[in-house]
């Protein structure tokens, strides 16, 4: 299946430099097929953003990839070679970040910043680039693009700025778009517009999207497949239908129960459940299964043996006691 995948991440391990014991990512494996949307979900600090930054070769200073391969179209990505990665970033892989208010340089115009990525990767004149930028701004749904192109970022709203960031990410028609919580900082109505924009761009350009989020509502609308991460591990992977219909990992089940869903009101109008406890500190992970201290199903085995990833039905899951939600209740 490698031949057909756009992106393969195999057993990726990321640690703080010089600290062999602690790890941010503890052997994460997943792949993205061309044109599909893969959602990566999990609580804050589970490592989902780090996985995407590792793909871009943009891990924050002090973190390093300890082992594992990242293949793009079957070829290893030179993630440790900044010069080589520059040809991938913005051209083959675009990225949209969480904070549109902070994502644009305040001293340059919108047009300058979008044109910059085109001029960096393509051999065209500034005048041609400007025409392309106007077209891009129109495509991402900004009003009067030939005027807004000369505006500075502080004149734009958060939603407009996120559209500009998306225009930058799509400017060179990449194969893959990594969207790291693209709507978390936006109003709900704007969220829906932005997600529709991403979906439309995906259909028109045939790009694959990695959607990093903790919003399961978005996942249900957008994703083809879902990877659930917890404390630097992939704990479950399944198609979006399978995951929502029969989540196997108790963490996934907890996430789903903690999500409000209209139309499926819980009996007796009970308040939403939360997952007890907190994500463990990376410096002091629990023994055995990382989720054990918060898991209702934990046994002696979970304390000593870290669960290996295995196939259960259509789902890949890392749990000693996988099973349907109803089985526990």
């Amino acid at each position: 299946m490698n031949g057909t995948n756009l992106l393969d991440i195999r057993d990726l391990r990321v640690s703080p430099r010089g600290m062999t014991e602690t790890a941010i990512l503890r052997g994460v494996t997943f792949s993205v097929a061309p044109g599909e949307t893969l959602a990566v979900v999990g609580e804050s600090g589970c490592g989902k953003s780090m996985a995407s930054l590792a793909v871009m070769g943009l891990l924050p200073p002090g973190l390093e990839r300890r082992s594992g391969d990242i293949l793009f179209r079957g070829e290893p990505l030179p993630v440790d070679d900044n010069t080589a990665m520059r040809k991938v970033r913005g051209r083959r892989i675009g990225m949209v970040f969480q904070e549109p208010m902070a994502a644009l340089n305040p001293v340059y115009t919108i047009g300058h910043q979008v044109a910059e990525v085109i001029l960096e990767h393509e051999d065209i004149s500034a005048a041609e680039a400007r025409l392309r930028v106007v077209e891009l701004l129109r495509e991402v749904g900004l009003p009067s693009p030939d005027r807004i192109i000369d505006e500075y970022p502080h004149r734009l709203s958060g939603g407009q700025r996120q559209r500009v960031v998306i225009a930058m990410a799509l400017a060179c028609k990449p194969d893959l778009l990594i969207a790291d919580e693209p709507t978390t900082a936006l109003d709900v109505t704007v969220q829906a517009q932005i997600m529709r924009l991403l979906k439309r761009a995906q259909n028109e350009l045939g790009i694959a999207i990695i959607l990093i989020t903790h919003n399961l509502g978005l996942v249900a609308q957008m994703a083809d497949r879902v990877v659930v991460m917890y404390a630097g591990h992939k704990v479950e992977e399944a198609s979006v239908q399978t995951l929502f219909a029969s989540p196997q990992h108790p963490y996934t089940q907890g996430l789903l129960r903690a999500t409000p869903r209209p139309g499926r009101r819980r009996a007796g109008g009970k308040p939403l459940e939360e997952i007890p406890g907190m994500v463990p500190a990376i410096t002091d992970p629990p023994s055995g299964c990382r989720f054990r201290p918060r898991c209702p199903r934990a046994t002696r085995e979970c304390e000593t043996v870290h669960p290996a990833v295995r196939q259960v039905g259509d789902t890949i899951v890392a749990c000693h006691h996988p099973g349907r939600l109803e089985a526990v209740q």
């Binding site: 943009l58 990665m85 970033r89 902070a102 340089n105 305040p106 001293v107 910059e116 502080h154 930058m168």
Partner: protein, 321 residues
């Protein structure tokens, strides 16, 4: 334009305030020009002193003197230096080019090298180049400039003989054209460096801190995700934003540069306004002294206004109101 008008009214009021305060401050100093002249002439004849004072207008009541001074100030008439037997304006304008060359080149040096070193330090934060730059800037920051000046004279002029010990040009040889320019530059090197190092150290630290802050911001990560080179990210994306605090501080430092010129010009016998002011103080040449103070305050206030306008020009998020 109304912004500029408002600011110009401020300029006038500020300068007026500075002139009045300085006038009274100088009255507080014991002794006057007549005392100094009489002392140098070796006589203390009361008749002679009274004559001198009447001639200089020093026998008038203080408020009369102030009023006369302000009236002349508004006509840009700076009066007469009885000490030098010359109009004050001639004295000052003769000396201004030398001071402008000294202050201008030291500010330029402090800015250019401060920015370069600050950027390098920030980009190598925690590694050897950063540690060396930070150590050096701490050292220069903590060393008194006059001592640096004297030590540079000892090393470069006395021991190595590379540069002259003082003055602005060779007195004996009558150089012209390029030879004269090179001669002035040779004389300029030590005083300009002496005056620059302290501010160079401050600016390096300021730019380093600013760059570190900006480099951690989201839009820098976005630029990296666009495939932009690290050099372009540092100089095009980060520095443009990190430089704003430097412009503010450098603008307010201008007065300090003029004050520093008094010291540097004295150590290196540089024939500038600072030296003139220093001498005027000891000679109780109050006309000259006051005029220099007022002129330099006008200069500083105007440059600060220019810096504010420049700031609005290069920072699109600032709007002048």
């Amino acid at each position: 334009m109304s912004y500029l008008g408002k600011r110009l009214v401020h300029v006038v009021l500020t300068v007026l305030g500075i002139a009045i305060i300085n006038f009274f401050l100088l009255q507080l100093a014991p002794g006057d020009a007549a005392d100094v002249l009489a002392g140098e002439a070796g006589t203390a004849d009361p008749e002679y002193l009274a004559n001198l004072r009447r001639e200089f207008g020093l026998d008038q009541p203080m408020l009369h003197q102030l009023w006369a001074f302000l009236q002349r100030l508004f006509m840009f008439d700076f009066g007469y230096s009885y000490r030098h037997n010359m109009p004050v304006s001639t004295l000052i304008f003769e000396r201004i080019p030398a001071t402008l060359i000294l202050v201008g080149s030291s500010i330029a040096m402090a800015l250019v090298f401060g920015i370069l070193l600050g950027v390098v330090a920030a980009r190598t934060a925690g590694r050897l180049p950063d540690k060396l730059i930070s150590l050096a800037s701490l050292l220069f920051y903590a060393t008194p400039p006059f001592w640096i000046g004297l030590m540079m004279i000892v090393v470069f002029s006395v021991k190595l003989g590379w540069t002259p010990t003082g003055g602005m040009s060779d007195i004996i040889s009558n150089k012209t054209g390029l030879a004269y320019v090179l001669d002035v530059m040779r004389h300029l090197a030590l005083p300009a460096i002496t005056q620059a190092v302290f501010y160079l150290a401050i600016y390096t630290r300021l730019v380093r801190a600013g760059m570190l802050e900006v480099l951690s911001l989201e839009y820098i990560r976005v630029a990296r995700a666009k495939g932009i080179s690290e050099n372009r990210i540092a100089y095009h994306h980060a520095l443009r934003n990190a430089i704003f605090p430097l412009i503010t501080v450098a603008g307010t430092n201008l007065g300090a540069f003029l004050g520093g010129a008094v010291l540097t010009e004295t150590v290196f016998s540089w024939p500038g306004v600072g030296r003139l002011m220093f001498d005027a103080m000891f000679q109780r040449d109050l006309n000259l002294l006051l005029s220099i103070l007022v002129l330099s305050s006008i200069f500083v206030v105007l440059v600060n206004l220019a810096v504010d306008l420049l700031y609005a020009l290069i920072n699109p998020t600032v709007e002048l109101r």
